[in-house]
Amino acid sequence: MLTKEEIQDALKENCINLRFHARGGQGGVTASNLCVEAFHGYGVCQPRFGAERMGSPTESYVRLSYNDDLVRNNEQVYGPHAVSVLDSSLLGEIDVTAGLAPGGWLIVNTTMDQISLQEIVGRDDINIATIDALNIAMEILGRNITNTIILGALIRVLPMFTMDALADAIMMRFKGSIAGKNVEAIKRAIDDTCVYENSNAPKIDFSKDTKIQWQQVSLGLPGYKELDKAGVWYCDETVIEMGSKLVNTGSWGEWDMIWNKDTCTDCAQCWYICPDFAILREKGDDGLWHMVGIDQYHCKSCLNCLEVCPVKAISKELKQGPASCAAPQ
């Protein structure tokens, strides 16, 4: 592990890049903001530009350096030196180590061990730290908010700023006992972080640019010569794989929707109201359409169908697993 002096030295003429993976509502952007506020140098925080929704996978980036010119860059971060994952359910959904510099750190809020994590992400040239932030959050904060706690693990492995500076930033942002409890939780996290230094990982080189050339152009997607004129995406063509079919909106929600075939009258009100076409229907032998189930891969549990059903044929059950912590407070 690099010493505090080595990190501070690296920050003089290099930029340290961080990436946070979370779900909308878990506070990933707040965590990255706090890094900028706690750092006694130049810093910028950007969300991944676009529309964030409750429960959807989100990314935010941080650039920190004592050299103003380096932080002035307005690019998105391509080569992070540390990646923090607030919700371990994202590991199966997103390539969280994409672009992570060799010798960099993957920090995950989980109770999993490092061997399992290494297998999931398929990288043997990075170091891993884990923190059971959920446990600390429930114990100290009394609710499942882990965004500040993961910062404790982050500064344990990359001491870019001190605990005192972070505490000051938290006192500025939060009021009253919440602020104090967050500081206490972070201090606990620094001690409780499990650090697995990988003997195969090289020493991290902050001066090395790990961005893949032309990465921002997304080679592999159709070029302009392969796209239809007028920017129309026809449903029966395979040039562009149909956008929303590929998006696992089902991972965003906190409820599993359950359909009762016996009560259902096939009135189709749920089919009309569903924003994700997640109500599945088939044409029967009688020539009429019948409901056959709910597409859980796309259902983000907005509960519209449950509200609209006149015979209560649809019910809900709380999902098991980390995605449920994106529930609105």
Binding site: N33, V44, Q46, F49, N73, N74, Q213, Q216, V217, L219
Partner: protein
Amino acid sequence: MPLHNRRGKKMSVEPMKLFFKEIKEPVETAMIGNYAVAGGVTQTDPDVICAFPITPQTQSVEGLSDVVHQGRLKAAFVNVESELAAMSYATAACAAGARAFTATASQGYLLMAEGLPMAVGWRLPLTMMISARAFNAPNLSIWNQWEYCQVNSELGWNIIVSENVQETYDASILSVMISEDSLFPTIFVHDGFIISHSVQKLTLIPDEIVRRMTPKKSRHTIDPSKPGVWGGIVTPDYFMEGRISLDEAKKPVLGQMKSTFDKFKSETGREYNLIETYNLDNSSKTAICTMGSLCGNVISWMTKNQDIGLIKIRAYRPFPVEELRKIVEEHNIEKLILLEKSDALNGMLPPFSMSVATALYPLKTLFRSFIVGLGGRDVTRDEFNIAKKKMETVTDMKGSLYTYLGVRETKQKIVGVDQ
């Protein structure tokens, strides 16, 4: 009827809390571009705020509604049904003597178009923020592009462009100063999402200093004791005289902007200019010329490419033609790389490049225009490296003067890149 949250307190946007009280000394803080603008506008004490929300401009209006709602700002916050209504209302309020602010982006700017010329014609010191975002064609995009260059830029509004959050906060105050000195409306622009949604550190100016820089001066207004016809029809006997008088009045505006920047510097210590230059006396006698957040990317890239300079245009309208000529001549710049986040679809140069080309015409400086970053495509060192390489072989002004950079031709080929 004030909105309340569950704890019974008035709702508020967290970062705006800094602006609820008098700011007594320079405060260093960190916030996104849009809230910084909302704060800056709050400090200039507008009488009327009237804007319609559109991504990526929304939080600026949201922040202002909050300070008005909390009673910090004694302004009329007017909800309207469209951008055209916002522009019409803000123009009329300004004509009646109010200090007025509005904000928009992309399609909203297009919907405003009918109302835009009047604030210029009536010499109204209106200010508007634009969070630059692409126009929707052939697909919808909410991301960054320089749409403010593509239309409406010849209507006579002043336009200043900001690189980062500090600059856009300062521009919200500078615009009021420029508008009221020149009696022409001013737009200040930052790049949508890239600046509007990035958290950056900035230093806030104490309220006392802002008040001193933006005093409310008396000017011509609609006044019942002095009846007149505003915007009435004229026959061809009069119209051209009206236009030339606007042109005459526009001539001193660049000078007024300069003295505004000087005044701002003496009060805050932060130095701005119509055009800012970096490392122009370099070995290759080549410079990149661009605006907005791209300048930050270029400056970072220049730490490793010290044979290239940067010319950063802050005042886009009126365009500082003489100043640009002088800079290019004084530093013996032989080649210019123009980076532009808009295109023109007519075989000629895109609008920003066209402005630069007009200024450069008597100097015969070699240049090429590179179209980058449309609809939020990130612009990185790859684009700068290839533009620099392409420019090395340019020896004349023949052939097409513009190319797109960073765009896929096929799944495996990038336009203009040999792989």
